[in-house]
């Protein structure tokens, strides 16, 4: 099959000593980032992005995607040992992970978490290997109206599937679009929303926004709880690993189900967090020991971790094939691709085969390397969290400031970062979702461009959005999603509502 051939070529591109070295560095940095508060996946990738400008795009994306894996793994460490979810999608892991650690079975929980992450991500990468070229070929039929329809669907599904007030979701998105509009207009060259300030000509860079919102904002948020981190200690020795591995095949049904849930939800934006909750809920319903979930059941760790990693990985599929990121971190990676001059989308598979298949090959390897690194170094990372917060917090803020500066070499960006930090803190507290904001900031210009091009072709006729079955179905689906909160309210009045028992604990991200 030609995909396997391309994949083998990708492996050849990736297996150079430099790239393998970068993989290890990336994973270690990624786990570190995932473990420390304020340096989550999206933020960490954003800070390290400018440092990769001097590398070749393939090496750079390999390192950045390994940082992404590392952060995925790292979130589980803090969830299980400290009951602090490192990422929004690790919240579900705390339900059974922390009780297991409290019972002294931290090593078992961690091994289970890491291995199921590996399995989930592996299945997702397999899916990407075979599906991505198909999606790319399909996407070659897309014109400007089709692309705008897909962007519309992306944003409308945030409103439709999001938790919390739809007004707040709309504001978050529109705010992101407004920020994206600042600066020079790509079509007419006019300056928009700059109010005569030459510094604003550049517009707001999504990297600065991400570092501020997810970095500074999260530190301010964690500060509320005080400066203490006390957690359970963990020793992973080979015996514990072996014992756990022997147990895991028992739960193969859970793994398969969770992977599928993860893959499906990962492809749609904002997927990893709902995926982990959905698969936890499903596992609880279908498992023989479902009633014991929450007291420390290994299955309760396997389900969310598999789903979250499958989702996090499959979020890269629409990013590569269509240019639509499925999560804030994928959005940052997308931004990176644009900076390197690569156009994600169907043409990427045709014009940059080495890059794409090198990246996919590195996903397999990065996943494996990640599992090995993480199993061997858990005590090290856990002990880093015991460094007193009063030393770590300023260092993290310094790193964020440096990260913000290296994007454009502009002092003003550091001020913006601080401003975004306050915005992130307030928004998170008031349950304004940040993911649509970041996506709107990254995609704003492109979405607007495709809209204007579509309008140009149709000479102002909105009907072009229903011109052929493909566009029409996507647009209609988008509008249904947009009105879903209203529709579901009507449906709920007609029949008894289903109780979402995790609704209170699910974070708005």
């Amino acid at each position: 099959m030609e995909e396997l051939n391309a994949l083998m070529q990708g492996f050849a591109v990736v297996l150079t000593p430099l790239n393998i070295g970068l993989m290890f560095v990336g994973i270690i940095l990624g786990v570190l980032i995932g473990v420390l508060p304020g340096l989550g996946g999206a933020n960490g990738v954003a800070i390290l992005l400018p440092l990769t400008f001097s590398m070749s795009p393939t090496s750079a994306i390999v390192m950045l995607s390994c940082i992404y894996w590392g952060a995925l793994f790292g979130g589980a460490i803090t969830s299980i040992l400290f009951n602090i979810p490192g990422e929004p999608w690790s919240v579900a892991t705390t339900f059974d992970g922390y009780p297991l650690a409290q019972k002294g079975k931290a090593g078992q929980a961690l091994t289970a978490a890491f291995t199921s992450s590996f399995v989930g991500a592996f299945v997702a990468v397999l899916m990407i290997t075979f599906l991505a070229p198909l999606v790319a070929k399909f996407a070659l039929k897309f014109g400007a109206p089709e692309f705008f329809a897909v962007y519309l669907l992306t944003f409308c599904s945030f409103v439709g599937m999001g938790k919390g007030s739809p007004f707040k979701i709309l504001i978050a998105m529109a705010f992101g679009f407004a920020l994206a509009a600042v600066g020079m207009d790509t079509v007419t060259g006019q300056l928009r929303l700059t109010f005569g300030q030459t510094e604003l000509m550049r517009g707001f860079d999504f990297l600065i926004a991400v570092i501020g919102l997810f970095g500074i904002g999260e530190i301010l948020l964690s500060m509320e709880e005080g400066l203490e981190f006390s957690g359970k200690s963990a020793r992973i020795n080979p015996k514990v690993v072996w014992e756990t591995w022997k147990e895991l095949p028992k739960y193969w049904a859970t793994s398969v189900r969770s992977s599928l849930v993860g893959i499906w939800m990962g492809i749609t934006p904002g997927g990893a967090t709902p995926a982990s909750f959905m698969s936890y809920g499903l596992a609880k319903k279908f498992s023989r020991s479902g009633s014991k979930f929450g007291t420390g059941e290994v299955e309760g760790v396997i389900a969310p971790e598999t789903a979250a990693h499958a989702a996090g990985t499959s979020a890269l599929l629409p990013m590569l094939a269509l240019g639509i990121p499925g999560s804030p971190t994928a959005a940052v990676l997308l931004g990176g691709l644009l900076i390197w001059g690569l156009q994600p989308g169907p043409l990427l598979f045709v014009e940059q085969k080495d890059f794409v298949w090198g990246l996919i090959a590195s996903m397999y390897l990065g996943n494996l390397v990640g599992l090995i690194v993480v199993l061997t170094t858990v005590p090290l990372f856990a002990s880093i969290l015991r460094i007193p917060f009063s030393i770590i917090a300023p260092v993290i803020i310094v790193i964020c400031a440096i990260g913000a500066y290296t994007v454009h070499g502009a002092m003003l960006d550091i001020w913006f970062m601080l401003g975004f930090g306050v915005i992130g803190y307030v928004f998170k507290k008031l349950d304004y979702p940040l993911a649509p904001l970041v996506l709107a900031l990254v995609l704003g210009d492109k979405a607007e461009d495709s809209f204007r091009q579509a309008m140009l072709v149709s000479q102002g006729d909105l009907g072009i959005m229903w011109a052929n079955p493909l566009v029409g179905s996507i647009t209609s689906l988008a509008l249904i999603m947009l009105c879903w909160p209203l529709i579901s309210k009507v449906l709920a009045m007609l029949r008894a509502p289903k109780v979402d028992e995790f609704a209170a604990q699910r974070p708005v991200d």
Binding site: P50, L51, S54, S165, F167, K168, L170, I171, M173, A174, F175, F177, A178, A181, D185, V187, T188, Q190, R192, L193, F195, I216, I219, L220, M223, E224, G226, L227, P388, S390, I391, A393, P394, V395, I397, V398, A401, I402, Y405, T406, G409, M411, I414, W415, L418, G421, V422, Y425, V426, K429, L430, D431, E448, F451, R452, M455, L456, Q459, G460, P507
Partner: protein, 174 residues
């Protein structure tokens, strides 16, 4: 997010409730949206011969912000949906400000003194004042961390960082 925070139970006075902060933020966002709408109208929010004008998209974006802000404010005020939970109490605000205010001063210091010197001062002072560490230890650690950053960025990555208006490190020749 938890509604009942341990410090609230212990009696730390609530500084603001979610519903009031919601209203204020909604008002600010409404103003922001209005600004966007006005700017969009100035740019031309209608159709030109080339299709939508530069202000077309921002006009509707601003409109969405304004309408949604009204929606949020309505939800925050109506008795059914208002969130009476505490936004922040005094203890939490104190902790947050203890990080935010030094960070503000730090960014100002970066502007004057450049990243390395400002960072060294920031880390050292943070450790001494908030962490209650002995001054010598803090200063040494701060200098070591920043020396590492300096080597990493200036020498190894060759990415020059901001040296500040006064350029206190110009004697190093970078």
């Amino acid at each position: 997010m938890t509604d009942k925070h341990p410090s609230e139970a212990a009696g730390s006075p609530v500084l603001a409730r979610n519903c009031s902060v919601d209203t204020v933020v909604a008002a600010i966002l409404f103003v922001f949206g209005a600004v966007v709408v006005f700017e969009a109208r100035r740019l031309g929010a209608g159709w030109t011969s080339d299709g939508p004008g530069a202000g077309y998209f921002p006009f509707y974006i601003g409109l969405i912000i304004c309408i949604s802000a009204l929606g949020v404010a309505w939800q925050a005020r109506s008795a059914k949906t208002r969130d009476e939970g505490a936004f922040v109490d005094r203890e939490q605000m104190g902790r947050v400000l203890s990080v935010l205010l030094p960070a503000l001063i730090y960014v100002f210091a970066i502007w004057i003194l450049g990243i390395y010197v400002a960072s060294a001062l920031y880390i050292a002072l943070f450790m001494i004042i908030l962490g209650k560490y002995p001054p010598i230890k803090s200063v040494v650690l701060a200098i070591i961390v920043n020396a590492v950053f300096f080597m990493m960025f200036e020498v190894w990555f060759k990415v020059p960082l901001y040296k500040g208006l006064l350029e206190p490190l110009s004697f190093l020749g970078y």
